[in-house]
């Protein structure tokens, strides 16, 4: 499972970084989304991977670390809000200038 997860994180990060380096806002937005998926998975893995273990401490039972799960929830909410705002901002830039270039000095 560790191998699978690390491959997933690696592929997501690589695609995200590739897309962020594009010159238009839409691919950049997608890239940021992929990157935040990768980051969320990574955060989740920082509490070690455990199967069949609830994040509750009970006598004798094995349990998963609940803290990274709380961290991931926070990170997901924040990342989601930020990405939504960026989408609106990019749309506004598109309607105001007619182009969706990220580079601000494109045609001024």
């Amino acid at each position: 499972m560790e191998v699978l997860l690390s491959i997933a994180i690696g592929v997501l990060t690589a695609c995200g970084v590739f897309l962020i380096l594009r010159a238009r806002t839409f691919p950049v937005l997608l890239g940021l989304t992929l990157l935040s998926y990768a980051v969320n998975l990574f955060l989740f893995a920082s509490g070690r991977l455990r199967v069949d273990a609830p994040p509750l401490i009970r006598a004798g039972a094995s349990y998963a670390d609940p803290l990274p799960q709380a961290l991931v929830l926070t990170a997901i909410v924040i990342g989601f809000g930020m990405t939504a705002y960026l989408a609106i901002l990019a749309l506004r830039g598109l309607s105001e200038s007619g182009a969706d270039h990220v580079d601000t000095d494109q045609d001024e």
Binding site: L43, G47, M82, Y85, L89, S97
Partner: protein, 506 residues
């Protein structure tokens, strides 16, 4: 009351923002905002006096024992930074209440959220919580940057948001690495765990270095600072004035992380590269100031210059240098904010020419010229104002360090360039008019903006007059900052910190 004092600077702007969102009427929002920030100034002033007894005030949210709880920690540094934020916030809000807040929606709640993020980031003692407060601050700043609309602001906004989202991703990776290796994110507990053997040295170093990179992005260290002049120039005058303190959040975070976690165990992490890059930032900002074509851009480059100067200090890890840095930080923030507010009024009085350095109509109000003279003298670090005192303290504290001669050369050289730029640009704004041009008939400045600007301008002479008590306070704050053992004991309780003081002494 005293026990709950550390959380109040966070609760007040939160309550104010919620109240303001409940009613959309502008006069009500202005009243609530000004009352709340006024209260914040009094409260943080009291906190600053209270913190001067040297006791670490730890507030555990939900009363869970640290390191499980998120803690807020008030020491002298945190208290002084909250006071600076509150004072700046109050004056900027007073200025914005004269009509700037009418240019777009929801200015007031967003302003309070921005203050909430700033104050929280200074107060928190938990690294993940620091991330959350950073995001609150950034989210509010994204919208405030776009306040007033226009293509330039939208475009500057896109770059700014994308960069900071990447910064947030890096921050989260760093936090994940740190939690995965040390099993804690409480700063004091991290400092304690770092002194224990048995963790993966390489991963921890990587994680802390990533965190420094994120803070450097906020602070505007050179390869990560190209966004800063552009963004600050595009923002409205009051928004840019409030942003003047945002670079300082990154710098204070680096200072604190360095003093508490890095200095005892891995003092080499910041060595060499940070000072070199800070020097490069100073040169870059000075050249940018020389090339600026309008007053607001000049002010943005000066903010970058002061950030670069401050970034010289964390790598030195010395009490004297940090003490000088704190005084410099306070005065440069206020001078930068004054510059932005001034540029807003000057732009209005010169009609089409705005604040561009071109021949234009003369200014209507003569006191603006004097105000410009005082702010420019402060920013150029010429005597007798606070800029001079700050730079003098900083340079004399940096005399002893290894890179001292280089630092002196670069800082003094860049000061000369800035002085030349300010002298040249001041001529355009104050003296050069077409023939017998008359001042344009524009609305009078109004008492709110006059008061806000005059108080910020007066900070230059005032901080110079109060240099002794202020530098004494920053000396005590720096001394407290550089005793990581006391910080760890204060947060985690006695017994946890014995090893760290031992390491720090070696």
């Amino acid at each position: 009351m005293n026990a709950h004092a550390p959380i109040l600077p966070i609760l007040i702007p939160l309550a104010a923002a919620l109240l303001q969102m409940a009613s959309g009427r502008l006069p009500f929002q202005r009243l609530v905002g000004l009352l709340a920030t006024g209260l914040l100034v009094l409260l943080t002033g009291w906190l600053t006096l209270l913190a001067d007894d040297g006791v670490l005030r730890v507030y555990a949210l939900g009363d869970w024992p640290p390191p499980f709880a998120i803690v807020l920690v008030v020491d002298r540094l945190a208290a002084a930074m909250t006071l600076l934020t509150a004072v700046l916030g109050f004056l900027v809000l007073l200025y914005a209440s004269a009509g700037f807040d009418r240019e777009g929606m929801h200015f007031h709640p967003l302003f309070q959220f921005q203050l909430l993020g700033l104050l929280g980031a200074f107060l928190t003692g938990d690294l993940f919580n620091l991330f959350v407060f950073f995001e609150i601050m950034l989210l509010a700043s994204y919208v405030l940057l776009a306040h007033g609309g226009g293509l330039t602001r939208t475009r500057a906004g896109i770059t700014y948001v994308v960069l900071n989202l990447i910064g947030s991703a890096l921050f989260l990776i760093a936090l994940g690495l740190l939690y995965g290796t040390l099993g804690t994110l409480n700063l004091a507990d991290v400092a304690r765990a770092l002194t224990q053997p048995g963790y993966n040295q390489a991963l921890v170093r990587l994680s802390l270095a990533l965190m420094i990179v994120v803070f450097a992005l906020k602070a505007g260290l050179l390869p990560l600072s190209f966004w800063l002049p552009h963004t600050y120039t595009a923002a409205g005058a009051p928004v840019a004035a409030l942003f003047a303190i945002m670079t300082k959040v990154g710098i204070v975070a680096i200072l604190r992380l360095q003093a508490i976690a890095l200095a005892p165990v891995m003092p080499d992490l910041l060595a060499n590269w940070l000072t070199t890059l800070a020097l490069a930032t100073i040169v870059f900002a000075a050249l940018g100031a020389l090339a600026a074509v309008r007053l607001r851009a000049l002010a943005a480059w000066l903010v970058l210059l002061s950030a670069g100067t401050l970034l010289l200090t964390p790598a030195q890890a010395s009490v004297e240098v940090s003490a000088a840095a704190l005084y410099y930080l306070v005065q440069s923030t206020l001078a930068g904010a004054a510059f932005f507010l001034l540029s807003g009024i000057i732009a209005e009085q010169r009609g089409k020419v705005a604040d561009h350095f071109m021949t234009g109509p003369p200014l209507q109000a003569a006191w603006l010229k004097i105000a410009f003279l005082i702010v420019a003298t402060t920013a150029a670090a010429l005597p007798p104002f606070s800029g001079f005192v700050g730079k003098l303290m900083l340079l004399s504290s940096l005399r002893e360090v290894a890179a001292g001669p280089v630092i002196w050369t670069v800082v003094l050289g860049s000061g000369f360039i800035v002085m030349a730029a300010l002298a040249r640009d001041g001529c355009y704004l104050i003296w050069k008019h077409k023939g017998a041009a008359r001042p344009l008939a524009v609305e009078p400045v109004g008492w709110q903006r006059t008061t806000a600007l005059l108080l910020l301008v007066a900070a230059g002479p005032l901080l110079a007059l109060l240099a002794r008590p202020l530098s004494d306070y920053s000396g005590r704050a720096a001394a407290q900052l550089h005793t990581p053992g006391a910080y760890v004991t204060g947060v985690l309780g006695a017994g946890a910190a014995k090893s760290i003081d031992h390491e720090a002494r070696q």
